[in-house]
C-alpha cells in the first residue's frame, strides 16, 4: 500500500519492528531451552538423558531413598503402560535396574517415545540414568508387549532432606513426521 512519501521511512521502520517481534516469538523457543538448562528447571535436561558409560558404585548403605515409578499414557485404550513395581528402596551411590511394562493396543505397528519427568524437580540432577528405554523411540509390532529396562544411580550428594523421588514417564505415539525428524 503506498504510504504518502513523508511517512515511508517511519512506516518501513515500524514494519521492520513488527517483523522483528514475529521473529522474536520464534526465538523464544531456543531461548526457553537454554534458560531451562541454565536455571536447572524443565527437568528434561538433568538426569533424564544422561547415559553414562560407566559409573563408580559407592553405596551409602546407611541411607535409604524411596523411588516411586509412575506411568502415563495419553489414550488409555491405546496402550498398557505401567511400572512393573511401583516403588523401590535404594541406597544412594548404588546402581539399580527397574522395568516398565508396555503393550501396544493400537491395532497397528507403532513407534512410541517415553518422556520422563522427575519430582521434586530440584533434585533431577542427582538422578542419573545409565540406560533407559526413554533414550530412544521404541518400535512395537501389533499387540507386542515387553518389559523395558531403566538402570539408574542416585547420587550420594542427594540433599539430606530428600527421602523420596518420583520418576514418571508419559508414553506417546510418535507422529510420523516427528519420528522421522529424530
Amino acid at each position: 500500500m503506498p504510504a504518502p512519501r513523508g511517512h515511508r521511512g517511519l512506516v518501513a521502520r515500524l514494519l521492520l519492528f513488527t517483523a522483528g517481534s514475529f521473529a522474536f516469538g520464534f526465538a523464544l523457543v531456543p531461548l526457553y531451552s537454554v534458560l531451562c538448562k541454565v536455571w536447572d528447571t524443565g527437568n528434561r535436561w538433568y538426569g533424564t538423558q544422561t547415559a553414562q558409560a560407566s559409573v563408580i558404585e559407592q553405596p551409602d548403605v546407611d541411607r535409604v531413598v524411596t523411588i516411586e515409578f509412575v506411568g502415563n499414557v495419553a489414550h488409555q485404550e491405546d496402550w498398557e503402560f505401567a511400572p512393573t513395581a511401583t516403588t523401590m528402596k535404594v541406597h544412594p551411590g548404588k546402581l539399580y535396574e527397574a522395568t516398565f511394562h508396555a503393550k501396544n493396543l493400537t491395532g497397528h505397528a507403532v513407534v512410541a517415545q517415553a518422556v520422563p519427568s522427575i519430582a521434586p524437580q530440584t533434585i533431577a540432577r542427582y538422578f542419573k540414568k545409565t540406560q533407559c528405554f526413554c533414550f530412544e523411540p521404541q518400535k512395537f509390532a501389533i499387540a507386542e508387549s515387553r518389559e523395558m529396562p531403566i538402570r539408574f544411580i542416585v547420587d550420594r550428594d542427594l540433599p539430606p532432606d530428600i527421602d523420596r523421588i518420583t520418576l514418571s514417564y508419559s508414553f506417546f505415539d510418535l507422529p510420523q513426521a516427528a519420528a522421522s525428524n529424530r
Partner: protein
C-alpha cells in the same frame, strides 16, 4: 519534526455517497464510526454469551447448555470482548480523536486504515462460523493452551486464522497511530504538549507491534503442531506445552495494558475537564504510562506461578509485578490530586471516569493479591481471578470507553444527548457491575473453579446474586444504545466547546459536529502557552 500535512483535501465537506462511502472509506471519522459501531455490536454479542454463562451458573446443576457448548461460550466471550469489542473501540476512538487532537487532517495512512477495519468483520465471521463446524466452537479457553486447544475439532484452524487476521488488523491500526502522532502533529505541538489520550495510545501502539506478532507466532506454532508434525509443544517430539504458556503470556501481559492504557489517557482528560483544573503531574503521567508499558514485558509468568518455576523465578515475577503498583499508584494519586480543590461537576463522562477511578483501583488491588506467588496457588484458576480481571476490564476499560463516548459524542453528532438517560445508564451500570463481579471474589476465595458449568451447592447464593447483577448490567447497556441513537438523530445543538469545563484539546476548537474534513490547514501552536503545565 511536526509539519503541516495538508495533501489531498481540497474539497471541503464533500462526502462520498452510498455504501461506497463506508466500503472504501478513508476518512478517519467514517472509519472511527465504523470501528465504534463494530465494537458495540461485538460488545452485545459477547455480552449475550456472558448472559448465557450467568444463566447456566444461576443455580447448580446443568440447566441450559451441554458442557462443551458452555466452554465454547466462555472461550468466545473472551475472544470477542478482547479482540472484537475493547480493542476495536480503542482504535475507533483513536481514529476519531487523534487527528483532531494533534491538529492533523486525517490519519497518516488512510488506505491502510480502511484495510485494518474491513479485516475485522471477516475475522469475526471466521471465528463465529466455527460454531457450526463438527465439534462446535473453540472451547479450550481464549488462552489456547495446548494440548487442550489442539484437541478441538474443525474449529481449530478457523480460530487460528481469525486470530491471525485480528492481529494483522490491530498491527496496521497501531502503525497508523504511531505515524500520525509522530509525523502529523500541528506545528508547535511538542511531544510533551500532546493530550494524554494520544500519549497513552502512542505507548499502546508500540506495545501492539511488539507483542501481537508474538501471539501470531504462538498460534502459528499451534497450527504447525496440529497439521504439519512439528513438536513445539508436543513432548513426544521433544517439545514442551509449558513453553506455550510462556510465549502466550509474553504477549498476554502487555495485552492487558493494551486494553487499559488508552483508558488511562481518557480518564486523564476527563477528570481535569470537569474538575476545572489542569491535570496534576502531566509529565509524571506520561512517564508512569511508559514505565507500566516497560514493566509489562517482564512480569508475564505471574499468570503461571503454578506450572513449576524455580524459586528465584517466582520471586522475580512476584517482585516485578508488584513494581507495577508504583507507576499505577502515581496515576491514581494524580487523578485524585487533580480533583483536590477543583470545582467538580458530575456530567455523565465525569461519572464514568470517577467510577473507573474507584473500581479499577479495586481490580488493581486484587491484582496485587494475585501477584503474591505463595497466595496465588490458592487463587489460581478460581473465580477470584475472574473477579479481578473483570474489575479491570469492565468498570476499567469498558467504563473508560463509555466515558470517552459520552465526552466526545456531542462533538461527533453536533447534538447534546439526554443527560438524565445517560445518568440512568451510569447508575444502573455501576451498581449492577458491582453486584455482578464483587461476589465472585467471595466465590473464588471459597474455592469455586473458573470455566466449569456446574458447581457445589455451597456456592449457590453468591452465584445467584452475581447472575442477577449480570442481567441488570447487560440490559442496562441497551440504554446506552438509546442515548447514542437519540443523539445521532437530533437533540439540543452542541456548542463547539460542548462542555462547561476546562478542556484544553484542539478537538474543542473545531465546530460541532466536527466537519468531515477538519484541520486541512494545520493550527499553529508555536508559542502558544502550554496548557498542561
Amino acid at each position: 519534526m511536526a509539519h503541516a500535512d495538508t495533501h489531498d483535501h481540497h474539497d471541503h465537506d464533500h462526502k462520498p455517497t452510498g455504501i461506497g462511502r463506508w466500503l472504501f472509506a478513508t476518512n478517519h471519522k467514517d472509519i472511527g464510526t465504523m470501528y465504534l459501531l463494530f465494537a458495540l455490536m461485538m460488545f452485545f454479542l459477547g455480552g449475550a454469551m456472558a448472559l448465557g454463562i450467568r444463566l447456566e451458573l444461576f443455580k447448580p446443576g446443568m440447566q441450559w447448555f451441554d458442557p462443551a457448548f458452555y466452554n465454547s461460550l466462555v472461550t468466545n466471550h473472551a475472544l470477542i470482548m478482547i479482540f472484537g469489542a475493547v480493542m476495536p473501540a480503542w482504535v475507533g476512538l483513536a481514529n476519531w480523536m487523534i487527528p483532531l487532537q494533534v491538529g492533523a487532517p486525517d490519519m497518516a495512512l488512510p488506505r491502510m486504515n480502511n484495510y485494518s477495519f474491513w479485516i475485522l468483520p471477516f475475522a469475526f465471521t471466521l471465528l463465529l462460523s466455527s460454531f457450526f463446524t463438527a465439534g462446535g466452537g473453540p472451547a479450550g479457553g481464549w488462552t489456547l493452551y495446548p494440548p487442550l486447544s489442539l484437541q478441538a475439532g474443525d474449529s481449530f484452524p478457523l480460530t487460528i486464522f481469525a486470530i491471525h487476521m485480528m492481529g494483522i488488523s490491530s498491527i496496521m491500526g497501531a502503525i497508523n497511530v504511531i505515524v500520525t502522532i509522530m509525523n502529523m502533529r500541528a506545528p508547535g505541538m511538542t511531544l510533551l504538549k500532546l493530550p494524554l489520550f494520544c500519549w497513552t495510545w502512542l505507548i499502546t501502539a508500540y506495545l501492539l507491534i511488539a507483542v501481537m506478532p508474538v501471539l501470531a507466532g504462538a498460534v502459528t506454532m499451534l497450527l504447525t503442531d496440529h497439521y504439519f508434525g512439528t513438536s513445539f509443544f508436543n513432548p513426544a517430539g521433544g517439545g514442551d506445552p509449558v513453553m506455550f504458556q510462556h510465549i502466550f503470556w509474553f504477549f498476554g501481559h502487555p495485552e492487558v495494558y493494551i486494553l487499559i492504557l488508552p483508558a488511562f489517557g481518557i480518564v486523564s482528560e476527563i477528570i481535569p475537564a470537569f474538575s476545572r483544573k489542569p491535570l496534576f503531574g502531566y509529565d509524571a503521567m506520561v512517564y508512569a504510562s511508559a514505565s507500566i508499558a516497560f514493566l509489562s514485558f517482564i512480569v508475564w509468568a505471574h499468570h503461571m506461578f503454578t506450572v513449576g518455576m524455580p524459586l528465584a523465578g517466582q520471586m522475580f515475577f512476584m517482585m516485578s509485578t508488584m513494581l507495577i503498583a508504583i507507576p499505577t499508584g502515581v496515576k491514581v494519586f494524580n487523578w485524585t490530586a487533580t480533583m483536590w480543590k477543583g470545582s467538580i461537576t458530575f456530567e455523565p463522562p465525569m461519572l464514568f471516569a470517577l467510577a473507573f477511578l474507584f473500581l479499577f483501583t479495586i481490580g488493581g488491588f486484587s491484582g496485587l493479591m494475585l501477584a503474591i506467588a505463595p497466595a496465588d496457588f490458592q487463587y489460581q484458576d478460581t473465580y477470584f481471578v475472574v473477579a479481578h480481571f473483570h474489575y479491570v476490564l469492565v468498570p476499567g476499560a469498558v467504563f473508560a470507553i463509555m466515558a470517552g463516548v459520552y465526552y466526545w459524542l456531542p462533538k461527533w453528532t453536533g447534538h447534546m444527548y439526554s443527560m438524565s438517560l445517560a445518568k440512568w445508564h451510569f447508575w444502573l451500570s455501576t451498581v449492577s457491575v458491582n453486584v455482578l463481579f464483587f461476589p465472585q471474589h467471595f466465590l473464588g476465595l471459597a474455592g469455586m473453579p473458573r470455566r466449569i458449568p456446574d458447581y457445589s451447592t455451597q456456592f449457590t447464593d453468591w452465584n445467584m446474586v452475581s447472575s442477577v447483577g449480570g442481567f441488570v448490567f447487560g440490559f442496562s447497556q441497551l440504554l446506552f444504545v438509546v442515548v447514542v441513537w437519540q443523539c445521532a438523530r437530533g437533540g439540543a445543538k452542541a456548542t463547539d466547546k460542548v462542555w462547561d469545563g476546562q478542556m484544553t484539546g484542539l478537538e474543542w476548537t473545531v465546530a460541532s459536529p466536527a466537519p468531515y474534513h477538519s484541520f486541512t490547514d494545520a493550527p499553529d501552536l508555536t508559542g502558544v502557552a502550554d496548557t498542561h503545565h
